[in-house]
């Protein structure tokens, strides 16, 4: 069942809660809004909705508001919420599922962070292992932010902390195979 706003856009999708529950394998209905997750969250200050609000919104089926929120991207993946939840609601898994759906449907609000993940994975697909220098350069080109961190970056290069060339990797096709299957 869907509920629409006056512009005809679906704002509530009753099945959303069930979808997240199924994909994350966690019992979101158990949440009784005690706020333990939000109080321990290190990124809370940068979020548009607090973690406990996201859980409530998922239960209510506020699909688009959740999938276009900053919260799911500025989550630092520190695992504190799920560790402290008295009802074993695994918010870490919920966040993963929300990011996955948001990317799949092209709704990611924090483009910089979503781009970072994409470039990170593209590099693994290309080289088998992460090559930090090319990742940083690609990220800079993509975000058109060429000059921040130039100084520490140069310092890292001079100290031999950034490998210039990626290593040769014999079984690269096996890693690429994983990515090819993931696309199916």
């Amino acid at each position: 069942m869907q509920y629409f706003n006056d512009k005809g856009k679906a704002i509530i999708e009753a099945q959303f809660g069930a979808q997240v529950k199924k994909e994350s394998g966690t019992e979101i209905d158990r949440c009784y809004q005690c706020l333990t997750c939000s109080l321990g969250c290190p990124s809370a200050f940068a979020m548009d909705y607090l973690p406990h609000q996201i859980v409530r919104m998922v239960q209510l089926g506020l699909r688009e508001a959740v999938l276009t929120s900053s919260t799911i991207w500025v989550c630092a993946d520190c695992q504190t919420c799920a560790t402290r939840c008295p009802n074993e609601v695994d918010l870490v898994k919920i966040m993963d599922v929300l990011r996955e759906i948001s990317l799949r449907e092209g709704l990611a609000k924090e483009r910089g962070i979503a781009d970072f993940h994409r470039l990170f994975l593209a590099n693994i697909r290309q080289w088998g292992r992460q090559h930090e220098l090319s990742l940083i350069l690609k990220l800079k080109l993509r975000t058109r932010d060429l000059f921040s961190d130039l100084l520490p970056g140069m310092k890292m290069l001079m100290k031999g902390k950034l490998k210039l060339l990626p290593e040769r990797f014999k079984e690269i096709e096996k890693v690429r195979d994983i990515f090819r299957r993931a696309e199916k």
Partner: protein, 291 residues
């Protein structure tokens, strides 16, 4: 000076990408310290990236198979895995956990690897291995240059302690093993409340201002507790703590890898060369202790 390997201290070693790049000094110190402590690390041939945060943030399937490939390679070697990077550690442990309880994932991985994957072996972090398999008593016997009461804040961060049912070998809210290890080396681990707070490392490149705020809070807390340097077992925390402190060059707090300090205390000659790679130089601090 190699010493005979104690029986059982052999592991399939998963270095992870950072230890060959931004955290090269961590990689070098891990190998040197393990050799000295009689831990044999057999590098997993053709290991690949575990997928890190970007893997599980975009696809559970990808996260499990990218990490799983390495688990299967290690299983072929018949040994538990030793890993130094906590981000790799949690990925490998989580994948193991998920693959074990999901038949379709296990079959998929077996197909990919062309051998049946049985999820038989464990993944262990080196802090756990050194604290519990080598043991602090053995470590203490090998200390030749004690750290003279240097005041340190043991920083555990996230993935060595959370989520406890997947990763923990210590208390998730107030862990002690790194503190105990530093005390064993002759340093003074200060009690402080930032031990397991997140530094925002996963956002260090993509959302700088969040990382900066979290790092500054941690550095301030460590300073208030009387620590003159922080100690980590994580390459992402190390890079983030060094890069995102907002102090001027002179008042930034140095950050050590725990293996670098073990190397110094055991009198390993190359230890100095590892420290030269830091962005925040610890040489002034070490000189003030005559080290």
């Amino acid at each position: 000076m190699t010493q005979p390997t104690a029986p059982g201290l052999r592991y399939a070693y998963y270095p992870g990408c950072s230890l060959e790049g931004t955290a090269r000094e961590y990689g070098l110190s891990v190998r040197a310290v393990c050799a000295r402590l009689g831990i044999e690390l057999a590098e997993i041939p053709e290991w690949s990236c575990c997928g890190a945060s970007s893997g599980h943030s975009t696809s559970r399937w990808l996260a499990c198979t990218l990490a799983g490939r390495n688990l299967a390679l290690a299983e072929g070697m018949g040994m538990d895995i030793a890993v130094a990077c906590p981000a790799c550690y949690i990925r490998l442990r989580k994948a193991h956990h998920e693959i074990k309880s999901d038949d379709s994932l296990r079959e998929e991985l077996s197909r990919l690897m062309a051998v049946p994957y049985q999820a038989k072996h464990r993944t262990r972090h080196l802090l756990d291995i050194i604290s519990h398999d080598v043991g602090l008593e053995n470590l203490k016997n090998k200390v030749v240059k004690p750290l003279k009461g240097m005041k340190l804040a043991a920083y555990y961060g996230c993935y060595l302690v959370r989520p406890p049912e997947i990763v923990a070998f210590d208390d998730p809210e107030n862990p002690q093993c790194l503190d105990a290890l530093l005390d064993t080396l002759g340093a003074e681990a200060r009690d402080w409340s930032g031990k397991v707070d997140c530094c925002g490392g996963s956002l260090s490149l993509s959302k700088r201002q969040i990382a900066r705020q979290l790092v500054d809070e941690l550095v301030e807390m460590a300073g208030r507790a009387g620590a003159e340097a922080m100690v980590t077992a994580c390459p992402l925390c190390h890079a983030n703590l060094e890069m995102r402190q907002t102090g001027t060059d002179g008042n930034k707090i140095p950050v050590f890898y725990f293996t670098e300090l073990i190397g110094l205390a055991l009198g390993i000659a190359e230890a100095r060369s590892w420290l030269k790679r830091h962005l925040v130089s610890p040489s002034g601090l070490l000189a003030s202790y005559g080290l």
